[in-house]
C-alpha cells in the first residue's frame, strides 16, 4: 500500500463514493444539442467521484414538449424510447430538474394512456430510477463538497420543476455552499417562475417575456456575474434576456460550477 502524499488541492482528497457504480447519463435533448458542456461537466463530476458513466445512444428526449402541449399520444414514442435506452440501469442521472420531473411524474401517467399493463409496469420501474444531479450527489452518493472552485459572484435561481416537483429544497444550495472562492448572493423573488415553461414561451410569448424580464431585473439587482440554475432551458430563457439587455451577466448550469476545480 502506498501513502498518498499530502493533498495540494481538495479534489485529490475527494472520496470516491461512486466507486464501482455504473450510472446511465440521460443528457436530455436540449443539453445534447445546445449545451454539450453541461453534459461534459456531469461526466467529469461523476467520474471524479468514482462512477462509471455510460451514455446509451438510443436515448432521445423526455417528451415534455409534446406532453405539456397536450399531445399525449405523440409523447408515447419518447417514453418507449426512454425505456429502451435506460432499462437495466439502477441509477440514471440527468442535469435537469424539469426533464427528471417529466420522466418520473409524466411517463407513468402517459404509459397508462396506452392501457398496456406490461408497458405500465416497465415504465413505473424504469422511470423512478432517474435522479436530477443534486439528488444523485446528495441522496445517493452522500457528498456535498465536490472540491469545486469558482471565484465569482453568483446568484442561484431555483427552477420551478426542481423546486416544486422534485422538492430539491436546499440541496443545490448545499452543493454550492462548498464551492471555494465563490460568493453566493440571494436572488430577490427567487420563487417566481422565469416564464420559460416549455411551449408556454411560444404559445404565450408576451407573457413569457414579461416574466423573464422581471427575473432578469431581479438578477441584475444582485450584481452577480453569473446566474446559476439546474436547468438549461430556464437558463436559455433568462440568459437570452440578459444578453439582449447587454447586461454582462452570464448564465451557467450548476454542473459546470461544480465540475470546475482549481486545476482548471
Amino acid at each position: 500500500m502506498t501513502t498518498i502524499p499530502a493533498a495540494e488541492s481538495s479534489t485529490a482528497t475527494l472520496a470516491k463514493p461512486g466507486g464501482g457504480m455504473t450510472v446511465g447519463l440521460f443528457i436530455t435533448c436540449i443539453n445534447d444539442v445546445m449545451f454539450p458542456q453541461t453534459g461534459q461537466a456531469v461526466v467529469k463530476i461523476l467520474e471524479r467521484l468514482g462512477c462509471t458513466v455510460e451514455f446509451p445512444r438510443a436515448q432521445t428526449c423526455c417528451g415534455q414538449m409534446t406532453t405539456n402541449s397536450g399531445y399525449f399520444e405523440e409523447s408515447i414514442p419518447a417514453v418507449k424510447q426512454y425505456v429502451k435506452a435506460f432499462s437495466g440501469y439502477d441509477y440514471v442521472v440527468a442535469p435537469s430538474g424539469s426533464c427528471t420531473g417529466a420522466v418520473r411524474d409524466q411517463h407513468p401517467m402517459l404509459a397508462r394512456e396506452t392501457g398496456d399493463q406490461g408497458f405500465i409496469r416497465e415504465v413505473d420501474d424504469v422511470s423512478q430510477k432517474l435522479y436530477d444531479l443534486p439528488e444523485f450527489l446528495i441522496d445517493v452518493l452522500g457528498v456535498e463538497d465536490l472540491g469545486a472552485y469558482f471565484p465569482h459572484r453568483v446568484t442561484y435561481h431555483p427552477s420551478c420543476h426542481g423546486r416544486r416537483f422534485l422538492k430539491l429544497g436546499d440541496k443545490p444550495a448545499r452543493l454550492l455552499s462548498h464551492v471555494k472562492g465563490m460568493t453566493l448572493v440571494p436572488l430577490p423573488m427567487e420563487e417566481q417562475c422565469c416564464g420559460f415553461g416549455g411551449t408556454f414561451c411560444v404559445k404565450n410569448p408576451d407573457m413569457s417575456a414579461a416574466m423573464a424580464a422581471d427575473k432578469a431585473r431581479h438578477i441584475r439587482e444582485t450584481d452577480a456575474e453569473y446566474v446559476v440554475a439546474g436547468d438549461n432551458s430556464c437558463l436559455m430563457n433568462i440568459g437570452g434576456v440578459l444578453s439582449r439587455q447587454n447586461s454582462g451577466v452570464k448564465a451557467i448550469h450548476l454542473a459546470e460550477i461544480l465540475a470546475n476545480t482549481e486545476e482548471d
Binding site: C29, G70, S75, C160, C193, D206, S243
Partner: protein, 511 residues
C-alpha cells in the same frame, strides 16, 4: 310598493339603465383568447403595478398566517378528504341537504343551468313586487351573469361588497374572486365614487380623499340607505351543511350580515358542490379558508343560519342548487378534483401569470389556476377562448403548494391540454394557421423522438446551423415560432459539436 329608481344614461353608452353598464355587456362573450387579450393587459402599467403590490402583500400575509398554524398540513388533508367524500356521493348529500333545508322552512329550487337559476331569482323578486335587490358578493351569480339578467327584467341588483361596488360603479368587470377590484388603486376608486355614486343613490362626500378609510366610509353611507330599504337580498354561499340545513357565509365588511338579516326575503344561489356533510366539518374549513383567502387568522364575520328563525332575519328563504356544468366536471375522474375548491383564491394570488395578466384576460369570472382548471370543464372546450385557457400557465406549480384543499392544479391543467389537443384533432375548428403548424410539429416530434436515428438526423441540421452562425448570438429574425422567442431574447448559435458527438469521439480516443 317598490322604490322610485331612476334610469341613468350617463356613462351607459346612451342606454337608460337602473345600474351602471359594465363594459362589453359584462360578459366575456366574443373576447379574444388569452394570448391576444394579455397583450393589452400587459401594457396597462398602472394595473401591472397595482397587481404586483396587491399580490405580493396577500402572498406574504397568507404565508405568515399559515406558518402560525401548527397543524396546517393535517387540516389541508382533512379538507381534501371531506370534499372528496361530498363529490363522490353528491346525490346522497344533495338529498340530505334538501331535506334539512326544507325542514327549516327553506324553499329549495333546482337549476340545471345559469339561465334557469337567473329566472328563478327574477320570478321570486317579481312575486315580491320589488324593483331592486341587494347582493352579497357571489361569484356564482357572476358566473350566471345575474345582474344583467335582472337589469333586463327591470330589477336593479345592487352590489354591496366594497370591491364589487367599485367594479359595478366603475363599469368594470371583476378581476379576482376574493378581491374583485384588485386591479384598482385608491386614486381610481375615489374618482369612480365621485363620478358615479350620485347617479345611483347617495353621492360620495365632495371632499372625500383617496384615503381607504374615507373611501370605505363613503361606501358605508351610500349603501346604508339601500340596506335599510331593501326587501329582497341575493347571496351565494360558502358552505351548505347537509345535516343541520345551514348556510355559511364568510365575509369581512358586514354587508353580508346586512343582506342576511335586514330584508324580508333571502335568495341564495349555490353550486351543487358547496355542501359539507356536517356542522362538525365547519371546524376544518374555518381554520383553512380565512388564512388562505385574506391572510387573516379569522375573517371579521362568519354567518351561519339554518333556515327561518322566528323573529330574526328573513322570514322567507330560497336556496337554489345550481348545476351549470358542475356535473360535467364530476364526470371526469381526473378533473373532478377541482370540485373541492373553496374559492379562497390563494392559487390566483400566487400565480405569476395572473399577477401580470390581471383577471380580465382569461375570459372567465374564474381567473388564474383555478379558473383555467375549472372553466373549460364547466363550459367545455368548443370555444377558442376556453381552448386557450389551459395554456395560460407555465406549469411552475406554485399553485399546488398553496391550495388549501390540495387540488393538483397543474395535473388538471395538463389533463385539460390533452382534452383540447384531442378536440383540435377531432374537428376542423382550430383551423387557424397556428393550430395546423402546431399539430404538424407535434406529429413530427413524435416521429423524431421515437427513434434515435431520426433524432440524430435532425441534430445534423442544427449542427450545420451552428457552423454557419459560429459564435454569434442570434438577434431578431422573422422566422415563424423562432420570431416569438427572438422578439425579446437572444439565442446563442448551436455549438458545432453535440454532446453525443463529443461522447463518441471521447470514448474512441479512449481514456
Amino acid at each position: 310598493m317598490g322604490t322610485e329608481l331612476r334610469r341613468i344614461t350617463e356613462g351607459n353608452h346612451g342606454v337608460a339603465r337602473l345600474t351602471p353598464a359594465p363594459d362589453n355587456g359584462g360578459t366575456f362573450l366574443g373576447m379574444p383568447k388569452f394570448q391576444k387579450a394579455v397583450k393589452t393587459e400587459l401594457e396597462l402599467s398602472v394595473q401591472r403595478k397595482n397587481m404586483r403590490n396587491a399580490t405580493t402583500t396577500i402572498r406574504n400575509k397568507r404565508a405568515l398566517r399559515v406558518s402560525e398554524s401548527p397543524d396546517w398540513e393535517d387540516v389541508r388533508e382533512a379538507a381534501a378528504e371531506i370534499k372528496n367524500r361530498v363529490a363522490r356521493h353528491l346525490d346522497h348529500y344533495l338529498e340530505e341537504a334538501e331535506k334539512s333545508l326544507t325542514a327549516r322552512g327553506v324553499h329549495v329550487h333546482w337549476a340545471r343551468d345559469g339561465q334557469e337559476a337567473n329566472q328563478i331569482v327574477a320570478e321570486i323578486a317579481k312575486a315580491k313586487g320589488v324593483d331592486e335587490v341587494v347582493k352579497i358578493k357571489s361569484i356564482t351569480t357572476q358566473e350566471t351573469d345575474l345582474n344583467e339578467y335582472l337589469e333586463e327584467q327591470g330589477i336593479a341588483a345592487w352590489e354591496t361588497d366594497l370591491a364589487e361596488l367599485i367594479v359595478q360603479l366603475g363599469h368594470d368587470r371583476p378581476s379576482h374572486i376574493v378581491v374583485p377590484a384588485i386591479h384598482r388603486n385608491r386614486a381610481e376608486v375615489r374618482e369612480i365614487f365621485l363620478r358615479e355614486m350620485k347617479n345611483y343613490g347617495r353621492p360620495a362626500p365632495e371632499d372625500v380623499s383617496e384615503n381607504p378609510p374615507e373611501l370605505a366610509n363613503a361606501a358605508r353611507l351610500h349603501l346604508r340607505e339601500k340596506f335599510l330599504r331593501a326587501k329582497v337580498a341575493v347571496s351565494g354561499g360558502n358552505f351548505v351543511l347537509a345535516d343541520t340545513g345551514s348556510l355559511v357565509i364568510v365575509e369581512s365588511e358586514g354587508n353580508g350580515r346586512m343582506c342576511l338579516t335586514l330584508p324580508d326575503t333571502l335568495i341564495s344561489m349555490v353550486g351543487i358542490e358547496k355542501i359539507l356533510p356536517s356542522i362538525d366539518d365547519l371546524e376544518v374549513f374555518l381554520k383553512l379558508l380565512p388564512r388562505s383567502a385574506t391572510g387573516e387568522r379569522m375573517n371579521p364575520y362568519n354567518s351561519v343560519w339554518s333556515g327561518v328563525t322566528e323573529g330574526d332575519g328573513p322570514q322567507e328563504q330560497h336556496v337554489i342548487f345550481m348545476d351549470n356544468g358542475r356535473t360535467n366536471v364530476l364526470a371526469d375522474p381526473v378533473g373532478r378534483e377541482v370540485l373541492r375548491c373553496i374559492r379562497c383564491a390563494s392559487c390566483i394570488n400566487t400565480c405569476p401569470v395572473y399577477e401580470r395578466a390581471g383577471g380580465h384576460a382569461y375570459g372567465s369570472v374564474y381567473p388564474g389556476p383555478i379558473g383555467i382548471s375549472l372553466t373549460p370543464q364547466l363550459r367545455g372546450v368548443d370555444d377558442p377562448v376556453d381552448r386557450a385557457m389551459p395554456y395560460a400557465c407555465s406549469l411552475c406549480g406554485a399553485c399546488n403548494e398553496v391550495c388549501p384543499v390540495k387540488i393538483p392544479l397543474t395535473d388538471i391543467i395538463l389533463h385539460l391540454r390533452h382534452r383540447v389537443a384531442q378536440a383540435e384533432k377531432a374537428d376542423r375548428f382550430g383551423e387557424d394557421a397556428e393550430g395546423t403548424v402546431e399539430r404538424n410539429l407535434m406529429k413530427t416530434a413524435g416521429w423524431v423522438l421515437g427513434d434515435a436515428k431520426h433524432f440524430e438526423a435532425v441534430q445534423a441540421a442544427t449542427r450545420s446551423a451552428g457552423w454557419a452562425l459560429k459564435g454569434k448570438p442570434l438577434g431578431p429574425i422573422p422566422v415563424p415560432i423562432a420570431e416569438r422567442w427572438l422578439k425579446y431574447r437572444d439565442v446563442q448559435a448551436p455549438p458545432t459539436q453535440t454532446f453525443r458527438a463529443w461522447w463518441k469521439k471521447n470514448q474512441k480516443e479512449g481514456k
